[in-house]
Amino acid sequence: MNPQFVTDYPAVEAKFHLGERVRVRQAAPLGHIRTPFYIRGHVGEIERLCGSFPNPEELAQMRDGLPAQPLYRVRFRQKDVWPDYRGSDKDVLEIEIFQHWLERA
């Protein structure tokens, strides 16, 4: 899968492929976390590889965030995320999530 943006940081290898089902890790560390609480534990599928970027959790602590982490756009079904969702079954929610927050579902 080609990344949407090519960067030249030393990076962790991208391990998920297009359409692969992934679960967001259930974790509650301290600090600056860009994975929203409400999506943790949910399963979605890889919509694209955005590129590899320095880890913002590390950047927030004044470190260089390297090696860069692959960032994916992950697609979730709204009905899966919100138990009382009243919209169409086809509605989706897309969130950009770094690889270290994802595992194979």
Partner: protein, 99 residues
């Protein structure tokens, strides 16, 4: 353990969003300019970390650029660009100008 930080409120009941338009005040423009000029001396992630560390009541009460100036200041202290003593003295000096 902190299960969920206060700022991470997506999906919590909150009522309707009421959008309002307003012109930026001069100090707000200055805060924005300062953030740009500081560049990598205060990364966006450090600034976000410091905004997210605000106590919940302050987080809810403060305006957007108030959060920015607090987080910029925290970042500069954490990095040793300014000291708390310098900041405290300067703030007293500025206050005294008004009198």
């Amino acid at each position: 353990m902190i299960e969920r930080s206060h700022h991470d409120m997506g999906g919590r009941p909150a009522g309707k969003v009421k959008p309002t338009e307003h012109d930026y005040a001069e100090w707000e423009r200055r805060v924005d300019a300062m953030a740009v000029l500081l560049g990598k001396r205060a990364t966006v992630d450090e600034r976000r970390k410091n905004i997210e560390a605000l106590p919940p009541d302050a987080y809810d009460r403060m305006a957007y650029y108030e959060k920015w100036i607090i987080s910029l200041t925290q970042t500069l202290i954490q990095r040793g660009v300014i000291t708390t003593e310098e900041l405290g003295r300067k703030m007293e000096e500025v206050k005294a100008r008004k009198r």
